[in-house]
């Protein structure tokens, strides 16, 4: 039984004559799996995220998550984007607690059980290396620290599915590698399922169990690579021959997909 099952989906924006974003899209994800999605720009990666979370409904085909067809937004997902979009009038801790004020299951409890939730948030802050920064405002944090806090916010309601849309695109190389390890450890220590949309092929090969290569618009899955490297993976894997071989293969596949567009 797959956690995510996207079956022959077609999605067109802006009416019958509009842009065909994805067509014949098939994606299956097992529980606990880490799947990366790569592809040329405009290949419908963001559409894939929106379909999976229920923000968009497909015109054709079905999206089934956790055994139920997705017809409206589902709160078992956590999302993080490239832009951390912390709310500047809230402290970092209050930003992280925000999803709990929304999700049906928690919004009534948070007033009476705030202490328990604050503890959970502080535990997450510690996991991403931000212990003691909860009382700071987001604009007092660096870009990398904001992105760490962003991950905490995506995880606070203990989502079954974590959706990451180029979360490290705007960070410098060293901070990015640090955060790869944060994500790697989060995935190893919990049973969360992760979908990572990225342009960074090394990122996808370092983190994922499986890499999906998407075609140019209208997007569909061209290739499905099992990533063979054993876990836990260390950063020196990035200089391994097999690793670079995989990255090169991905690179040429995407180049071909772009040329065919």
């Amino acid at each position: 039984m797959h956690l995510v099952n996207i079956d022959d989906v077609e999605m067109r924006y802006g009416g019958p004559e509009g842009t065909l974003a994805v067509s014949g899209l098939n994606v299956k994800m097992d529980r606990g799996e880490f799947v990366a999605v790569v592809g040329p720009s405009g290949c419908g990666k963001s559409t894939l995220m929106k379909l999976t979370t229920g923000l968009q409904r497909p015109q054709k085909g079905a999206v089934v998550v956790a055994g139920k067809e997705v017809t409206k937004p589902i709160s078992i997902v956590g999302m993080a984007f490239q832009n951390p979009i912390m709310l500047p009038w809230r402290t970092t801790l209050d930003n992280i607690l925000l999803p709990l004020e929304i999700v049906e299951k928690h919004r009534k409890r948070i007033r009476t059980h705030r202490k328990e939730y604050v503890e959970r948030a502080e535990h997450l802050l510690e996991l991403v290396g931000l212990k003691g920064f909860g009382e700071k405002f987001p604009w007092q944090l660096s870009g990398g620290m904001q992105q760490r806090a962003n991950l905490c916010r995506a995880l606070i309601h203990e989502p079954e599915l974590l959706m990451l849309d180029e979360p490290f695109g705007a960070l410098d190389a060293f901070t990015r590698e640090e955060l790869w390890c944060v994500i790697r450890d989060l995935h190893a220590n919990t049973d969360v399922t992760v979908m990572l949309v990225t342009h960074d092929l090394r990122e996808s090969a370092f983190l994922a169990d499986r890499i999906l290569v998407m075609s140019a618009r209208p997007g569909r899955v061209l290739a499905d690579h099992e990533v063979p490297f054993a876990r836990p993976r260390q950063l020196d894997l990035l200089y391994d021959n097999d690793f670079n071989h995989l990255v090169q293969e991905l690179h040429s596949e995407i180049a071909r997909a772009r040329d065919n567009a």
Partner: protein, 258 residues
Amino acid sequence: MSTDAKGLNFVKLAPWIYTAALFAIWEAAVWIFNLPVTFLPAPSRIAAAIVQYWGPIWSNSIQTLYTTLLGFVLAMVGGLAIGLLIGWSRSIYAGLYPLMIGFNAIPKVAVVPILIIWFGIGSIPAIITAFLISFFPIVVNVATGLATIEPETEDILRALGAKKMDIMIKVGIPRSMPYFFASLKVAITLAFVGSVLSETVGSNTGLGNMMAAAQSRFNVPLVFAGLVMLAIEGIVMYAIMAWIERRMTGWAHRSSMG
């Protein structure tokens, strides 16, 4: 360190120095060119007029302040409400916006006679004119604050099952507050324009009426005394609004705080 402290002091003193310089140049110009008092009275002459007519100047200033503030408070409440409403719904926005542009384009001086026909001579036309003229910038600013919510923020919250009301309360309203408080600084000065306009066109109280009456008697120093009082009231109210803005939405001025 000492040069820093000096620089800071100079910045703090600058408004007073510049104001004093303006009045000094003005005084000197009147003296050098020997300008008649009915053309341009010197600041010392205006100060004398303020002392001489303090009783009526004070009561008319209070009257103008009262109509201005009442109109302004109405504009604040109404502007916030309408701003949130048109930020809430695209169709309300589409329907109301052209109407409001039209209303805003009408010269308020043309509206005052109508208000006097409806409500008679008195405070009410001044209050309504102050309201009408200061209402628009507040609406536009609040609506802008709502319209510029990052789509990702909405996506994250909607994916969690947030209703439109949740997004409005958690993000929209706090986010539009800096815009709202910034617009109050513009609105309060416009409110003075409105109330004085109405008092000048048709009223028997207020600084506008006092200046119109003084002008018809060629009491030019008293006209300028009225202008000085208006400037002082305007600056004080502006400063209060700026202070409230900093108190309420300090997070939006983080670069100056950090």
